[in-house]
Every structure is written in structure tokens, then in C-alpha cells.
């Protein structure tokens, strides 16, 4: 009994001491934060790689620090998508593809796009030349077309529909093994990632060479959809402080993208240091390809191309399959103005 009591007293004392200590620590951290930096979390759509080089460069070059920001970049490991991170509040800003954003919005998530980083679709369909497929015209109902699904399949479905073919596809994993083995005749490949793994001969790549592969480009086929964009939730944005943070974040990020596109090799090295698990050669290839998607023409980085976004909305409305009929109705009724706001981009680009 006596021992128990003593134990209790000791526990209480330890608890009190630790509480006091944490209160003190919390207090000083707060004071320092108010004077210096605001914290932000950016949730990526995928693993750390040159696809997101603009943010990594902005961080490494101190652009975020210049804006008084401390940005935590959270890669996606495939379990929690950026939309769910932003929705639950574990992230403030997310990177995702526009069609996915649209389907989330249709289900009642109050997201709004704030910058369109990629200006072109990076999706290709690739076939071995030996398969006899030399262009989209050679695709038949028996061609095994691969895609990752999960909202990445709309462009492929749109192309198949355009060709008058059934829109079914084979589930493709995140390697090109299925393509290599021949389980998939026509595989989905991003210009900056899987395509590089098919044609190049660095470690981990298949080394087919450009000349032995047929490429079907979604931009050329007229079924392109807009990909990597930045989004936040309107609820988060309703706080004036967050509006200000967002503008600063956009300004630094756009600067990061500009720097990254000016020297893609250096950007690849920065991404590599940030923890990419894929080889430096592949990161360099990716960075050079990503540049072609981020600034394909004179249009400023991050700007909204109305016509391309309208096509993205149209194709999503046509090909997205949402089981919930009320969400489907909301998607069909959606307008371009519901998707994005350029207010913050304009302020940041000034």
C-alpha cells in the first residue's frame, strides 16, 4: 500500500514536470514561429521524383524560405492519395491530375484548383514495333491495352471509344514487366517515366531503343487531359492567413519550376538528394521530359489553358464511372468555373 502511494506521487510529479516542460517548449516554438516562418505541407501524387522537381528545387534553393515558408513535401506511397490528405487536413496543398480532382469534387469534396503546372498530357500508349502496331489505327478489339486504372484510364477509354472499340482495358501494375513479357500489347506509359524505362538502357530500364517502339500520343490523338495541378480545399482557403500563405507558396513554387526547367540536370540532382530511389540517369531523363510538359510553349508556367481544361472536363464527364448516382449527377452538372480559381495564381505571378 505504502509503495503504491509513493509510486503514485512519483508518477504525478513526473507528469507535472513533463507537462510544464512541454508547455514551455510549445510556448517558445510558437513565439519563434510567429516571428519567422509559416508551415505548409504539400502532398504529392506519387513518390519523390523529377515529376515534382519544381517543389524540390524551390525548397533546396531556399525560395520557400525567402517567402517565410517551411514546406514539408509528403510523397504518396500509394495508400493515401493527396485528395484524402488534403481532405483530412494532414496536408494543406495537394498535387493531382485534373480528372481525379473532378471526380472527387463530384462526390462533395470542396476542392479548388489553384495552378495548372502541366500544360500537356504526358500519357502515351506504347507497343513493340514487332507487335505490328504502328499507329492508333492498328488497334483492334483483341489488342490488349494496359492502364493503371484508379482514375488514370479516361484518356485511354476516350481513345478506344473514338476508334469505335470496346473501352475495356487490362490492369497494369507500376512496372513495365507486363509489356516486356507480352501480357500487354499496348501499355500506358508516361513520357517522363515508363517510356524512359522502355527505351533507355540505363540500370533498371528495358533498353528497347526509340526505334523499336511505337508511340501513340494522347495530345496528337485529340484525347489529352490535363495532369499535375495544385489544389486546396475551400474550407482551408476560407482562412485569410491561408490565402496569404498560398500566394507565397505559389510564387516560390513557380520560381522553383522556372529554375528547374532552366537546368533540368541540376533539378534531377536535387530530387535525387531529396530521396528518390530511382537512378540519377532516370531522374535526368524525367526532368528533361517533364520540362516539355510544364513549359511546352510561351505560356507562363502554371497558367490555365481554358480550352484544354474544358476538354478535360468533357472527357471526365463522359468516361468517369462513379457508382453513386448523386455524384454522377453532380459531375455531369459541373462547369469549368467550379474547377479552378486563378485569383491566387494571378497574385503570385505578378
Amino acid at each position: 500500500m505504502q509503495a503504491l502511494k509513493r509510486n503514485r506521487i512519483v508518477t504525478a510529479a513526473v507528469l507535472a514536470a513533463s507537462m510544464a516542460a512541454s508547455a514551455w517548449a510549445g510556448g517558445t516554438a510558437e513565439a519563434a514561429g510567429a516571428a519567422k516562418t509559416d508551415e505548409l505541407t504539400l502532398h504529392l501524387k506519387w513518390l519523390p521524383q523529377a515529376q515534382f522537381m519544381g517543389y524540390y528545387v524551390a525548397d533546396a534553393m531556399g525560395y520557400y524560405a525567402e517567402e517565410g515558408l517551411k514546406v514539408t513535401i509528403t510523397p504518396c506511397d500509394g495508400t493515401i492519395p493527396p485528395e484524402q490528405g488534403v481532405s483530412t487536413g494532414t496536408a494543406d496543398i495537394g498535387v493531382t491530375w485534373v480528372p481525379t480532382l473532378l471526380t472527387y469534387k463530384a462526390q462533395g469534396y470542396d476542392f479548388v484548383e489553384v495552378a495548372q503546372i502541366y500544360q500537356k498530357s504526358g500519357l502515351l500508349l506504347v507497343a513493340k514495333k514487332a507487335s505490328g502496331i504502328t499507329s492508333a489505327k492498328d488497334i483492334t478489339a483483341s489488342t490488349k491495352v494496359g492502364n493503371w486504372g484508379l482514375g488514370n484510364e479516361y484518356e485511354v477509354k476516350a481513345l478506344l471509344q473514338k476508334l469505335g472499340l470496346p473501352t475495356g482495358y487490362t490492369n497494369q501494375d507500376f512496372t513495365m514487366n507486363g509489356f516486356h513479357r507480352g501480357d500487354i500489347d499496348l501499355a500506358s506509359a508516361m513520357t517522363y517515366n515508363e517510356y524512359g524505362l522502355v527505351i533507355n538502357s540505363y540500370q533498371g530500364a528495358l533498353g528497347y531503343g526509340k526505334d523499336n517502339v511505337t508511340v501513340i500520343d494522347m495530345n496528337a490523338e485529340g484525347v489529352a487531359m490535363m495532369e499535375d495541378c495544385l489544389f486546396v480545399s475551400r474550407e482551408w482557403l476560407s482562412d485569410k492567413k491561408n490565402e496569404d500563405k498560398l500566394v507565397r507558396f505559389l510564387r516560390a513554387s513557380l520560381k522553383g519550376w522556372k529554375t528547374a526547367c532552366e537546368d533540368t540536370d541540376k533539378a534531377a540532382e536535387i530530387v535525387m538528394k531529396a530521396g528518390s530511389s530511382i537512378s540519377l540517369e532516370h531522374q535526368k531523363f524525367m526532368a528533361a521530359e517533364v520540362k516539355k510538359l510544364v513549359s511546352p510553349d510561351a505560356a507562363p508556367i502554371g497558367s490555365f489553358n481554358q480550352a484544354k481544361l474544358a476538354q478535360t472536363l468533357d472527357l471526365t464527364q463522359r468516361y468517369a464511372e462513379l457508382g453513386d448516382s448523386s455524384a454522377m449527377k453532380a459531375l455531369k452538372a459541373m462547369k469549368l468555373t467550379d474547377l479552378y480559381t486563378d485569383t491566387y495564381y494571378q497574385l503570385a505571378a505578378k
Binding site: 469534396y109 484508379l150 487490362t170 490492369n171 501480357d183
Partner: protein, 264 residues
């Protein structure tokens, strides 16, 4: 008269008690869920945890979409379970026939049970070019272990006096097996089967997560949850539970039939 009625009511209640209380508890949980009590407690939004009425509506709307997925999963789970259970039984048989190294082989097999399904599934995808075979193989491997261990115990956990009796009758190995070991193993085999129902459903659904074939309840759950379609994701989860419960009930019924009709 009233005494009789009271007795009848009492007996009826006694029969129903085991069912009514859990059912009431279930209804209470669903009511709390529907009225967003859990949302308040856990601090989640309705978008993250859809309410039962919405899930039910979406379930009914998508029954036609979920039916082929359910059949695909049922097919994988059942064929894998039958194959695996047969193989497991065969292993137990061999281990009983050659007890010296049989027990060691069984231990080795049990170690395979430690390989998680999430690791097994991608490996099988590489081994088998055909997606269907890969999924069935995962389920079969998972089911083989539980059946082998249980059947082996059933064949060898015989009463000492029964074994002595058989020996005193100069029963041959074959006779001992057919008349003692095999009947003795029946309840153990059913224990293995009951374990395997759950394991087969888990194995099938998890391997659908990794499978190149875009069908099955596992694919459906993964696809809907990762695109934020939580009501439909939950509808798929409910379909998977219903199938699991139905399979379990079928095995339990088979067990009741087999254990009442056997003559020992």
C-alpha cells in the same frame, strides 16, 4: 394455464436470447452510425465515413456492377480453398504414413504460413502468367497449411486405448488408418475448413489488389477507396462480408451433416 404460458414464453426467450441481444446491439451500432454519433466521437466527416442509409442505397444501385466482381472472388476463393485443402490433406496423409520425417516436413510447411499474403501475391503474379491461376495459387497455399496441420493432428491425436485395441486385434496399418485415424480426423478437418473459409476470402481479396485482372471484390474495394468513392467502397466491403458469412454457414452446415451421420 397461465403457468404453462409463462413457461412457454420463458422457453421461447431462452431460445431467442442468444440471437436477440446481439441483434439489438448491432441495431444500436447502426443507429449510432446513421445518426453520426461515431462521426462526432472520432472527428471524421461523412465523406470519409458514409452513413448506412447512403451505403445501402449505393449498394442497391450498383448490385449489377458488384455481381460479376462477387462471382469472380467467390470463384477464386472456392477453387483455391478446395485445391489447397486437398493438398493440405494429402500432406497430412503422407506425414502420417512416414512419421519420422513427416512431422519435420509439416513444421517446415507451417513456417510458410508466416509468409504474408501481401508478399505471396506479387510473387505468384510473376510465377503464373495467367492472372486467375496466380490468385488461385495464393489462396491454395494459404489454405494448404491450416488443413495440413489440422488433418495431421486429427489423424494422430487418437485415443491411446483405441490404438491399443486396434493393435490387440492385430489390425494392419491400413485398417488402423481407415477405421480409426480417418474418422478421428473428421472434426479436425472441419476445423481446418472453417479456418480456411476466412483465409480463402482474405487471400482472394488481397491477391485481387495486386492482380493484373481488373475484377473481383478486392479490385473493387481498392479502386473505389483510392478514388474517394467511399459509399461504393463500403458497399463492396459489405458484399465481401456477406459472401464470407455465407461460405462459413455452408461449411458449418456441412460439418453438422457430416458429424451427425458418421458412425463411430
Amino acid at each position: 394455464m397461465t403457468g404453462k404460458l409463462q413457461k412457454a414464453v420463458k422457453r421461447l426467450w431462452k431460445d431467442a436470447e442468444g440471437f436477440v441481444l446481439p441483434a439489438l446491439f448491432g441495431i444500436l451500432i447502426i443507429a449510432f452510425w446513421e445518426k453520426k454519433v461515431f462521426h462526432a466521437l472520432l472527428g471524421v466527416k461523412v465523406l470519409q465515413l458514409p452513413i448506412p442509409s447512403r451505403i445501402t442505397a449505393v449498394f442497391l444501385e450498383n448490385a449489377h456492377r458488384m455481381a460479376p466482381d462477387s462471382l469472380a472472388t467467390l470463384n477464386t476463393a472456392l477453387s483455391g480453398m478446395i485445391l489447397g485443402s486437398l493438398a493440405g490433406f494429402a500432406v497430412a496423409l503422407i506425414a502420417t504414413m512416414f512419421p519420422k520425417w513427416g512431422a519435420g516436413a509439416l513444421t517446415l510447411l507451417s513456417a510458410m504460413n508466416a509468409v504474408p499474403v501481401v508478399a505471396l501475391s506479387p510473387i505468384m503474379n510473376v510465377w503464373f502468367a495467367d492472372a486467375e491461376s496466380a490468385k488461385t495459387a495464393v489462396v491454395a497455399i494459404v489454405c494448404m497449411v491450416a488443413m495440413a496441420a489440422n488433418a495431421f493432428r486429427g489423424m494422430n491425436d487418437t485415443k491411446q486405448f483405441a490404438l491399443d485395441l486396434m493393435k490387440s486385434y492385430a489390425g494392419s496399418k491400413r485398417q488402423i488408418f481407415l477405421k480409426l485415424r480417418l474418422p478421428n480426423s473428421v472434426p479436425y478437418v472441419f476445423t481446418g475448413l472453417r479456418i480456411n473459409v476466412a483465409a480463402a476470402m482474405i487471400g482472394a481479396i488481397v491477391s485481387e489488389y495486386f492482380s493484373p485482372a481488373s475484377k473481383g471484390l478486392g479490385y473493387g474495394i481498392r479502386n473505389r477507396l483510392s478514388t474517394g468513392q467511399f459509399p461504393l467502397g463500403w458497399a463492396y466491403i459489405i458484399a465481401a462480408s456477406l459472401i464470407g458469412i455465407a461460405l462459413y454457414a455452408a461449411v458449418a452446415a456441412l460439418e453438422r451433416w457430416a458429424t451427425t451421420h458418421r458412425q463411430v
